[in-house]
């Protein structure tokens, strides 16, 4: 005799998987297209059974401008993350372990800077960058991204630092650890997962950023977001290759995103939802 709870579970599974499949389908369909030949990719009716090929990936990887864009994305994301971490870690450390009356208002003020709509300062930034020759440079984007993500990272690191159990640090002090030893042997290992998550989140946000990357770059420093948007005119013959390029562009971030779901929630809600 099948229990009632089993039926319930079965129905839930069906509904949930339908939702999941519908949501994932566009991504899936694009990935499938990347393995089709160009002709197959734009065939109507759409081909479900086809001969898979890796030629698109081979071609894409040889395209200099694709490689350039990929390198740019990596360089910019990593660079901005490192810069932001260099600023955020000391600040979050100070505010978590040595809070003052100002700490709360500082944190809230940082939060408010994130509320600034980028389009509001498009004009001055564009003109400024033009005048100091930062248009179409990786450096320019690195600076902007670091600034944009700084508030989120300070907040995220702050919440992580606050979760380090105080007694462990106090035990270390009683055992005679100097401040440097305390930082190196106790704090670093304990907060490393938190720092890693924060870095991961920053990389995701930088990689996917699609406002400044579209407006402040043209060719040299164009990351993958801009590279792909340059194909917005629908020319069917490019579609399979574009799918391959897109798949390569989103795959790492998809993986990172899957790994960092929890931190995402924490980071993007500034700790209001844990």
């Amino acid at each position: 005799m099948i229990k009632r709870s089993f039926y319930k579970k079965l129905i839930l599974t069906l509904v949930a998987w339908i939702a999941a499949t519908v949501m994932f389908f566009p991504v899936f369909w694009m990935m499938v297209a990347s393995f089709k030949t160009e002709i197959d990719a734009v065939a109507t009716p759409p081909m479900i059974v086809f001969n898979p090929t890796l030629e698109n990936y081979a071609t894409v990887q040889q395209r200099a401008n694709y490689i350039n864009a990929a390198i740019n994305s990596v360089a910019i994301s990593v660079g901005a993350t490192l810069l932001a971490l260099a600023l955020a870690i000391p600040a979050a450390y100070a505010m978590a372990f040595f809070p003052t009356r100002r700490t709360r208002s500082t944190l809230l003020w940082m939060l408010s800077t994130k509320m600034l709509p980028p389009v509001g300062v498009l004009v001055p930034i564009y003109l400024l960058f033009r005048d100091i020759d930062l248009i179409d440079t990786k450096t320019g984007l690195i600076i902007i991204y670091a600034l944009m993500n700084l508030p989120i990272m300070v907040w995220l690191l702050y919440t992580f630092f606050k979760e380090v159990p105080k007694d462990i640090l106090e035990a270390g002090r009683i055992d005679g650890a100097s401040r440097r030893q305390e930082l190196f042997y106790l704090l670093a290992p304990l907060s490393l997962p938190g720092i890693a998550s924060t870095a991961l989140l920053s990389i995701i946000l930088c990689w996917n950023e699609a406002f400044w990357s579209l407006n402040l770059t043209t060719s040299d420093a164009a990351p993958l977001t801009a590279f792909i948007s340059s194909f917005s005119a629908p020319e069917g013959l490019f579609w399979a290759k574009l799918s391959a390029a897109s798949t390569l562009a989103i795959a790492p971030i998809l993986l990172f995103g899957w790994m960092s779901q929890r931190q995402l929630v924490r980071g993007l809600t500034f700790g209001a939802v844990k």
Partner: protein, 293 residues
Amino acid sequence: MTALTKTRRVNTLPLITPSVLVLLLWMVVPLAMTLWFSFQRYNLLNPQIKGFAGLENYKSLLADSALWTAMLNTLVLVASVLGVTVVLGTMLAVLFNQEFFGRGVARLLIIAPFFVMPTVSALVWKNMLLHPVNGLVAFLTRSLGFEAVDWLGNWPMTSIVMIVSWQWLPFALLILLTAIQSLDHEQMEAARMDGAGPIAMFRFIILPHLKRAISVVVMIETIFFLSVFAEILVTTSGGPGLATTNLAFLIYIRALLQYDVGAASAGGVIAIVLANIVAFFLVRTIARSLEEG
């Protein structure tokens, strides 16, 4: 303060100052410049004509029907996507809170859209799905016997709303799911013992618990949705006509396509004011959670 903590007092100022300084610059300088430019007559095509314009930029902007169309579009876009993501997000969060087969994998699949870069999302939807000739949706509608719909041509705003909702539904889902999972199990069991069926459970126990999370989602999403840009650029470029031009896109047009710095800056100021109104409420909510947590 015990002796232990006293000896460890660190001068925190040099640690915090760089971040604060940098953010201050980032905020103050561009903001001030935008404000200044908005009172200037400055067009990059004719850089010789410069001068103080007073409120002229604002006046002509406010008189420009394009601005009001853009504001309306912004409102429609934000409200629609909010509605879709919050309602569907809540329902899916309740669903994914239950146990079912393959929950872990299903969860990965359903949150994937959020991590796809906006330009890729837009292109996929534009070419693969919504394209009236080659698109999959067209194929499906034709197989059902209906004519293919030119989504981006005839229903541009609906299409944009679809695309942005698709991208952001996972965000709402994740946050609301996290909030539901913090609901005390014993509370739900007590409700079961009190006779609560699934509907009563949702109405009296789950929904009140989600109030805070929903308001956070609404506020954060609003701030992001006010600035939707890439999706519009890649699919409709604001068209047809001005049908999908929101405030952000209008400013972009004015600034980088028409080189009208003055008007664009005035528009930018308006966008900032709008965002600040929402931001005020968000900061208050976060402040409250700081105290409690």
